[in-house]
């Protein structure tokens, strides 16, 4: 029963989504939206699991004064400061809730968002170091990659485009047609078709209960 019930639920849920794809929404209503709402509601309940996990993992180092315990303490404090006022009713104070002017909103705009933007901005440096390793001309294929990347990167900036136009007016269009729209798109489509088939086969294996590892069954 412990195995059969989840498999039956997975099969029926999968079948429901297939039915939603085929059935006319005019006749059966917004079944798809309804099913997705169920997922959101279940997800909401599991939020507590996340909070419990984060507190469990970070509380122990603080209590035992392990190396770097103050970082764990800062994290716990941040969780409390962001979470507690956001779930309190706005009628108690305009600082509560998640609306504009609330504590949550202030912390999000002034701390969380800039920190996330900083992480994202760091990507530029990571791209540079990865490109330095990837674009080394160690073999014929790597040299071809290096040359293609140089041409594409130049074409993407106004100076490079101007340079290509100076050589031949149709050169930027040729790069667009043959490199980006030709070779690049062909390879990407090959990967996408393969991945889509893989995803469909995995879905089928899950629906039929052949693939059960995601439920902890090996």
């Amino acid at each position: 029963m412990k195995t059969k019930l989840p498999i039956a639920i997975a099969f029926l849920s999968g079948l429901a989504m297939v039915a939603v794809f085929i059935l006319n929404p005019e006749k059966v209503g917004d079944m798809e939206g309804e099913l997705l709402q169920w997922t959101t509601v279940i997800g909401g309940f599991t939020l507590l699991l996340g909070v419990v996990s984060i507190v469990r993992v970070n509380w122990r180092p603080v209590v035992r004064r392990e190396t770097g315990w103050f970082n764990n303490a800062a994290l716990l404090l941040s969780v409390a400061v962001m979470a507690i006022p956001s779930v309190l009713p706005v009628s108690w104070s305009p600082l509560f809730g998640t609306d504009g002017g609330s504590m949550y909103d202030w912390f999000f705009i002034n701390l969380s968002a800039p920190m996330m933007a900083t992480m994202f901005a760091m990507l530029a440096f990571y791209v540079a170091s990865a490109a330095f390793r990837a674009f080394r001309a160690r073999s014929a294929e790597a040299t071809l990659l290096l040359l293609t990347a140089t041409v594409v990167m130049l074409w993407r900036v106004p100076v490079g485009e101007g340079l290509f136009v100076a050589i031949h007016s149709k050169l930027p269009n040729l790069i667009n047609t043959y490199v980006m729209g030709g070779v690049n798109v062909a390879v990407q489509r090959g990967i996408i078709i393969g991945a889509a088939l893989g995803a469909a086969a995995t879905s089928l294996r899950i629906m039929l209960g052949i693939e059960r590892t995601y439920m902890g069954k090996t």
């Binding site: 079948l15 996340g50 990967i191």
Partner: protein, 291 residues
């Protein structure tokens, strides 16, 4: 015969649809009946694909030998865990950063189950940070079952799998910090990754970890290829669980995929010929249009 009932249900659904679908006139996208008949092409393709997967699965069940090509990245998983064991360092596993309803995440969790079997066998520390509470619950169950299967229930610790942050870059910062502090011997990243793929992979590279990554997101593949030792591309991610399990029944599904790929290649060749020669190119295109 365990598959007989679900297969029967699927076939029944298709049979129920056939009269309605055959009655479709003009394939208009405005429907008044119970079924969206303009989606008949997608239904037929899905039915053929399902039949192919089920046929090869049944063949595998009967004991037919199925050849599956070598996937270097997956062969390396056990060696990577072995390396971690020798170095006395942990294995870091990330099942992507998407929700559990994403099929890439489920594929990642399936691979996690196989990896956890190996870490349990060698008693290697395993760390699995997750971004969503639902993934947390599933991943904890997967890892716990793997440890139980290997008879190492005492080595299992619930905090091996932990929720770290719901925001994409907060999650990335936490995992990057872990990589630089603990310097795991192996980083295995399997699932859906987005802008953080290179941040994670480059940090792991800087930490000196052996890295095996897999994703079905084509935009992130170049980053993983540049920064990781082994990369599973697209379909290889979905094949990984079957490949690592060595179970003929699971491998049968891979054969079904290959059969479908042959059909798609044939359709591309015929379509290219028809469009190039103006011999019914529009008709061919309309055959594959999904609304």
């Amino acid at each position: 015969m365990r598959l007989a009932r679900p297969v029967g249900l699927l076939l029944l659904l298709v049979l129920l649809l056939i009269p309605e679908l055959l009655a479709a006139n003009g394939a208009s996208s405005v429907e008044t009946g119970w079924f969206r008949t303009y989606r008949i092409n997608a239904i037929i393709v899905a039915a053929v694909f399902s039949a192919a997967v089920l046929y090869y699965t049944q063949r595998a069940r009967r004991g037919d030998k199925l050849f599956v090509r070598k996937i270097a990245g997956l062969d390396e998983v056990e060696d990577a865990v072995g390396r971690a064991t020798e170095m006395g360092k942990p294995v870091l596993f990330i099942a992507g950063i998407d929700e559990i309803d994403k099929i890439d995440t489920l594929a990642g969790l399936s691979i996690l189950g196989r990896v956890a079997l190996i870490t349990a066998r060698y008693e290697t520390p395993l760390y699995v940070p997750v971004r969503y509470p639902m993934v947390l619950a599933a991943a904890q169950e997967v890892v716990q079952q793997s440890y139980l299967t290997e008879g190492r229930a005492d080595s299992y610790n619930q905090d091996m799998v932990c929720y770290v942050a719901g925001e994409q870059f907060a999650f990335t910062a936490t995992v990057n910090g872990y990589m630089m502090r603990e310097r795991p011997a192996a980083n295995i990243m399997m699932g859906a990754f987005y802008a953080e793929s290179l941040l994670l992979a480059e940090t792991g590279n800087a930490a000196g970890s052996i890295q095996i990554a897999g994703t079905a997101q084509p935009e992130q593949l170049p980053f993983f290829i540049a920064a990781c030792d082994y990369t599973l591309m697209g379909e290889e991610l979905f094949a990984a669980s079957a490949y690592l399990s060595h179970e003929p029944l699971m491998l049968g599904g891979l054969k079904g995929q290959d059969f479908m790929k042959v059909l798609i290649i044939a359709a591309i060749l015929v379509g290219t010929f028809m469009v190039t020669t103006h011999l019914g190119g529009d008709w061919m295109r309309s055959l594959f249009e999904v609304r």
